[in-house]
């Protein structure tokens, strides 16, 4: 099993979610996060004092998938999240040792 983590622009989240549902993904976790990539942050002005705000609001999606689905899920997310402008985010995949469904106690791919 793999954990696919995507950090995307907040306004792309609905499209990514819809695309994942169409692909057949049952569950996912969404978190509001702050961060920056190569684009860094932006500047705000308060009574003439300019503040460099290093982090921008982003949304993190986490999806657990079976090994063979991982590349496709990554493609689905990338396609749905892409605007082509700077700050579109990142997607990465890491191996997962165990998954347990809390309600039934099922383990492994059955728990996905």
């Amino acid at each position: 099993m793999k954990l696919v983590t995507a950090v995307v622009k907040p306004h792309r989240v609905d499209d990514v979610k819809d695309a994942l549902q169409r692909f057949g993904i049952q569950g996912l976790t969404i978190t509001e996060v702050q961060g920056h990539g190569r684009q860094r942050g932006h500047t705000e002005v308060y009574r003439g004092a300019e503040y460099r705000i290093d982090t921008l609001p982003k949304t993190r999606l986490e999806v657990l998938v079976e090994d063979q689905d991982a590349p496709d899920v990554v493609d689905v997310i990338v396609t749905a999240a892409r605007t082509g402008k700077i700050g579109d985010g990142k997607v990465w995949v890491v191996p997962v040792e165990t998954v347990v469904r809390v309600r039934t106690g099922e383990r492994g791919p059955d728990a996905l």
Binding site: E44, V45, Y46, R47, G48, A49, E50, Y51, I53
Partner: protein
């Protein structure tokens, strides 16, 4: 008794009362979220402290008969002694002294509260309460006497200060400067971003101040007459113009029309028109407003160049705006009053209040610092003053409707949720 005047002054008193919570919102929105409640409370508590002091001796010191030399009122009216419901100001056409005393009380409440913005995020709440108790007693009550009591020496000097350019704004502005020099800078000043946590709250506060200021300025006529109407109109004109002045400066200098700039410009205009009363005409008000907006917008940047941490720009707005208004009315006063002589009187009044207030405020702040310590502990300042002094947080940010917050900090009655005793 003049019923119309009485009704007008009572309503004006209520309008001015609302300015202090308005100021609390104006300042409260400008600080970081961790000390938002503390900022609100620094203003709000003045409604309690100064009210009590006013009844005990404040009214008497400010508006009692002069003890001589125009410096202070006598103690004839401590505990509001000798004033009855039927006691009137002036002659038979006056208003009840109680209405006047209530109206003037609201000025005494908001003036120390104005200083709180300069000390945001870093002082002990108990020290602040002690400081404003001493400050209104030793600085505000005498200065109000100088300016507004017919026996006061600045009154007799014919300084025009209709609603409090010297007694309120210069006084509080320079008092704030003295206090912040004693207290020092916030940790992280000029290094960490210290963004306002809620600009909508700032805008709400500015709106309430603008609204209440009609009572502050027009009400100072103490009569429902043409002077009050002129002052109400001048207030609106100067405030609108100052907002545009600030925004224009900001657009040219920083490239944006900011919300904070609009709110700040409005307050700068309100401050600057305060001393004028009906002494200027509509064009005078317009000029005072535009100049105040643009100059204050520039003045708030001085703290970064000079390295003092006037956190919410009490000096840049109230001291600079108060000085501008007090001096400009010397030039712009109509009916042949304005000119070099009047400008000289205005400058003398402003300088007297500057010197007195700065010296006494510095001494009082130093006294508070020596006796109980003015400054909050470093870890409390970093963690935020709300939890340290008020055992509360301004907003519940937990996504799960508060349940996670409850789990991490179970409610334990009689025990503060802080690791140590709440040392306010």
């Amino acid at each position: 008794m003049n019923a119309a005047d009485t009704a007008f002054v009572l309503i004006s008193a209520a309008l001015v009362m609302l300015m202090t919570p308005g100021l609390a919102f104006f300042y409260g929105g400008m600080v970081r979220v961790k000390s938002a409640l503390n900022m609100l409370m620094m203003s709000f508590v003045s409604l309690g402290i100064v009210t009590v002091l006013w009844v005990l001796f404040g009214y008497s010191l400010a508006f009692g008969d002069d003890i001589g030399a125009g410096l202070l009122g006598n103690l004839d009216h401590i505990g509001l002694k000798g004033i009855r419901p039927e006691t009137l100001t002036g002659g038979k056409e006056g208003i009840p002294v109680f209405a006047f005393a209530l109206f003037q009380l609201m000025f005494a409440v908001i003036t120390p509260a104005l200083m709180s913005g300069a000390l945001a995020d870093r002082v002990k709440f108990s020290a602040w309460c002690l400081f404003i108790t001493l400050w209104v007693s030793v600085v505000y009550f005498p200065v109000a006497h100088w300016v507004w009591q017919p026996g006061g020496w600045l009154f007799k000097l014919k300084v025009i200060d209709f609603a409090g350019g010297t007694a309120v704004h210069i006084n509080a502005g320079v008092g704030a400067l003295a206090a912040l020099l004693v207290v020092g800078k916030r940790i992280g000043f000029r290094k960490d971003p210290m963004r306002p946590h809620s600009l909508p709250l700032v805008m709400l506060g500015a709106g309430l101040l603008w609204f209440g200021w009609f009572g502050f300025n027009a009400g100072s006529a103490l009569a429902a007459n043409g002077t009050a109407a002129t002052m109400a109109l001048n207030t609106q004109i100067a405030t609108g113009a100052a907002m545009l002045g600030w925004l224009a400066y900001e657009r040219v200098r920083h490239g944006a029309f900011t919300t904070l700039g609009a709110a700040s410009g409005a307050v700068a205009g309100l401050v600057a028109i305060t001393p004028s009363g009906a002494a200027v005409n509509a064009f005078g008000a317009l000029l005072i407003g535009v100049v105040a907006g643009a100059v204050c917008s520039w003045a708030v940047g001085l703290k970064f160049r000079l390295g003092y941490d006037d956190s919410l720009d009490v000096i840049g707005v109230h001291l600079v705006g108060g000085l501008l208004g007090t001096l400009l009315v010397g030039l712009l006063a109509t009916d042949g009053v304005g000119g070099a002589v009047q400008l000289g009187r205005q400058a003398a009044g402003a300088f007297a209040v500057l010197a007195y207030s700065f010296t006494l405020s510095w001494l009082l702040a130093t006294l508070v610092d020596k006796v109980i310590g003015f400054r909050a502990a470093e870890d409390d300042e970093i963690a935020g003053l709300d939890r340290a002094f008020h055992a509360e947080t301004a907003y519940d940010h937990s996504a799960a409707g508060g349940t996670t917050a409850l789990r991490s900090a179970p409610p334990t009655p009689h025990e503060a949720p802080h690791h140590k005793k709440v040392d306010a």
